[in-house]
Symmetry: C2
Subunit: 445 residues, 2 copies
């Protein structure tokens, strides 16, 4: 916070070179955070103080609304300078967030060749590998020597997002090998790229789901992954930082879905109240209306709880515990599937596991419940009825926690929607039926 | 799956060199998966077929129980060969998973110097930066030339986990700068490291929480991060692949906690039924006993629902909706805090936001409920009573969804425990009280 006040002081006193000295020592991500905090009128000024490359790096880190207002403040020449410094995947990211008039201005200020590539990348579906790749990589030929490769890297590295993995292509741009900078450094300068390159390459298709791309990075610890088109021609690469972003995004989406919400695309505070409400209301309505069914079932047993009003006191406990057991199981299964720890083929294995867990957990909860009821009401039939209902509810809840997410996956739906809220609603229904059936039998109502 | 059958066929027909040819083209992570699927007696054989370096890479990727049985099968010489190939952070990871007798054998077979470093690293707390760092990095001096630096990298790179960021230290091992391989490649061979190194370095202390380390990687897109001791001396580095693992681990922990479970440390199927049950039962018991309170409150209103039995039919709907609204809000707040999007200082801002969302959502749900009750029962007072209770429940649930996680954070507890299950239990209590109070007033019971 003091940093912002310091910065404002320097701005107001026009100590531009002092400010510049401070800013150039900072990381782009930190400058972007500062810039978002200062009054809007100062933003273009601060931006113009920065050295060109740093300015571009900061620009990438800023929120879309700050980027937009900056673009409006830029002259065409300034805009061109910033765009020249950006990596292509970042330009595409920015374009995707901007309104049409800004997009037109951006495209107008990029050279025709870049514009064509941007338009290509924009065509890839939102969740595809193609949409997150960059086309700035170092490509080599197999008849080059290591020395020639270094020469090429030195000549082109400035514009490339990574130089630590180089890609070997043939005349038709087919990907035939990769060489890491480490291998190059450790090889004889006269060695041929074709002899030292790695030919067993893991790559993805442009249409591959970006979630799978993140999984590949997680599994193999890569720094970059090549992207090829249907003919096996290299079209781009994905770097580990973008894979990390995808991974975090997918996790946040799962968190939202598992709490019965549509995922938000922006930060919490940047998303409007109306948008938040819209993201939440659909599932609430569906679940509210579904819960009506449980209510209807209860009304069927009016005579039972008219005769024995205490029965109603156990409803919240049964329903909550059922919901909790179900959401424990479904969370385990949903996450297990998300990280490829559990597959559809493991259905019976997982179910058997949850049933055994349910037997232990159900017995323990039933025992504690029996003790509690005996202490509070000294009513053995009531204790038995509620404990038996509890035990059955736990078993059903854990089973549904396995069945529902795996069924969703089987139907090519996102398993994450089969989480706590939906499971709870279904378990409620079951537990009420079991409870009243058991209770009316045992208590002879 | 065919791969496993192929592999078994080759093994049974003793076609060792064919098998070797196939395996050497594969990624270590994939070989490890294969090895875990084949019968145990073949594992040491397959392992011995692999070239030394690949064997070590596979070993790192295997599950701890496979590693343990392999270590038992190894001669001391074999064990030493594998350990020699491992990076130090991987050795430490393996040691942390092994029983004491295996640890002793591992330590016995490492050279004294490595053993000392391993013991140092093992002393760092489980969640600290020190526990996940590696000590294999390239260090340079500022009076070296770029050419000398390359010579040093070439001489030492084989043993180093990354050579893409080099660390410049002074005589007392203080970290004074970093140089990337990219900078080295783009600099004049005679340039001095001191002139081209970056001196504004982001680093962490050995005791820093590894969750913060992962956040730093996410924010700055680093490939490696230096770790220093209290005196600012460089002691190790953390690489991006380890940061990704930490990030995924922390997410899985949050998923588990938010579903009222203790996180499991192993995979779903590797964790025993008893262990799963133990991880789940505590919260279930706490929540079950807490739900008793809601039951007690309900019994207080026996006369009300004896006079108007239909009232009970609305309990599941109210309780479920309250729980869902609360868990939506708490998930947003918990995740917002986890990714540093929401801070404790934003409390009033977040609450105000949730209240406005609650007004919209509550009004919509109340309207739908009114319509439904009028259609089903043509009972306006009942419709008003339930809708008003619904509206109030939504507002309280959304408020608690903000208050509880932020209170937990304020008390230095993990906000993730204030998720759906706990919020639901608290909201249940509140909604029952509101419901019966409103209903008895409006319906004149």
């Amino acid at each position: 916070m003091t940093q912002i006040t310091d910065m404002l002081d320097l701005l107001q006193q026009h100590k531009i070179s002092d400010l510049r000295n401070i800013l150039t020592t900072m990381e782009p991500a930190d400058i972007a955070i500062l810039v978002e905090e200062i009054p809007e009128e100062y933003v273009p000024l601060v931006f113009r103080i920065l050295p060109k490359e740093l300015a571009a790096d900061c620009f990438v880190e800023m929120d879309p609304d700050v980027q937009e207002s900056l673009i409006h403040a830029f002259s065409d020449k300034e805009l061109r300078e910033v765009l020249d410094e950006l990596f292509l995947d970042d330009t595409v990211d920015i374009i995707e967030e901007m309104p049409a008039n800004v997009v037109r201005r951006i495209l107008k200020n990029t050279d025709p060749q870049t514009r064509q590539i941007i338009n290509e990348v924009l065509k890839y579906p939102k969740d595809s590998a193609g949409s997150i790749m960059t086309i700035e990589y170092v490509d080599l030929r197999k008849n080059m020597t290591v020395e020639q490769a270094f020469k090429r890297i030195r000549a082109y590295a400035i514009d490339k997002e990574t130089i630590y993995t180089c890609y070997v292509t043939d005349d038709a741009r087919h990907l035939i090998g990769i060489v890491t900078a480490r291998t190059l450094l450790l090889s004889d300068p006269n060695a041929l790229i074709g002899d030292i390159m790695e030919t067993n390459i893991i790559y993805v298709d442009t249409m591959e789901d970006k979630e799978n791309v993140a999984k590949i990075f997680d599994k193999y610890d890569f720094l970059a992954l090549p992207v090829v088109d249907r003919e096996g021609r290299l079209v781009g690469i994905i770097t580990v930082d973008d894979a990390m972003d995808v991974m975090q995004e997918e996790n946040e989406e799962d968190f939202a879905k598992m709490a019965a919400m549509s995922p938000i695309e922006d930060s919490y505070f940047k998303t409007t109240v109306l948008h938040h409400a819209k993201n939440r209301i659909l599932w609430l309505l569906v679940l509210m209306v579904s819960a009506t069914l449980t209510g209807l079932i209860i009304t069927n047993y009016q005579t039972a709880f008219a005769a024995y009003p205490l029965l109603i006191a156990f409803l919240p406990m049964l329903m909550d515990t059922g919901g909790n057991c179900g959401s424990q199981a479904s969370t385990m299964i949903i996450r297990g599937m998300a990280i490829d720890d559990i597959g559809l083929g493991d259905f019976l294995k997982a179910w058997f596991k949850e049933i055994r867990i349910a037997l232990i957990v159900g017995a323990a909860l039933a025992a504690v419940n029996t003790a509690r009821v005996m202490i509070m009401y000294q009513d053995l039939p009531l204790a038995l009825a509620t404990s038996l209902a509890m035990f059955c509810t736990v078993c059903i809840a854990k089973s549904l926690g396995v069945i529902m997410p795996m069924l969703a996956k089987r139907l090519k739906l996102d398993p994450a929607i089969m989480a706590s809220p939906l499971i709870t609603t279904i378990v409620d229904c079951c537990s009420v039926i079991i409870y009243f059936t058991v209770a009316t039998k045992i208590l002879n109502i």
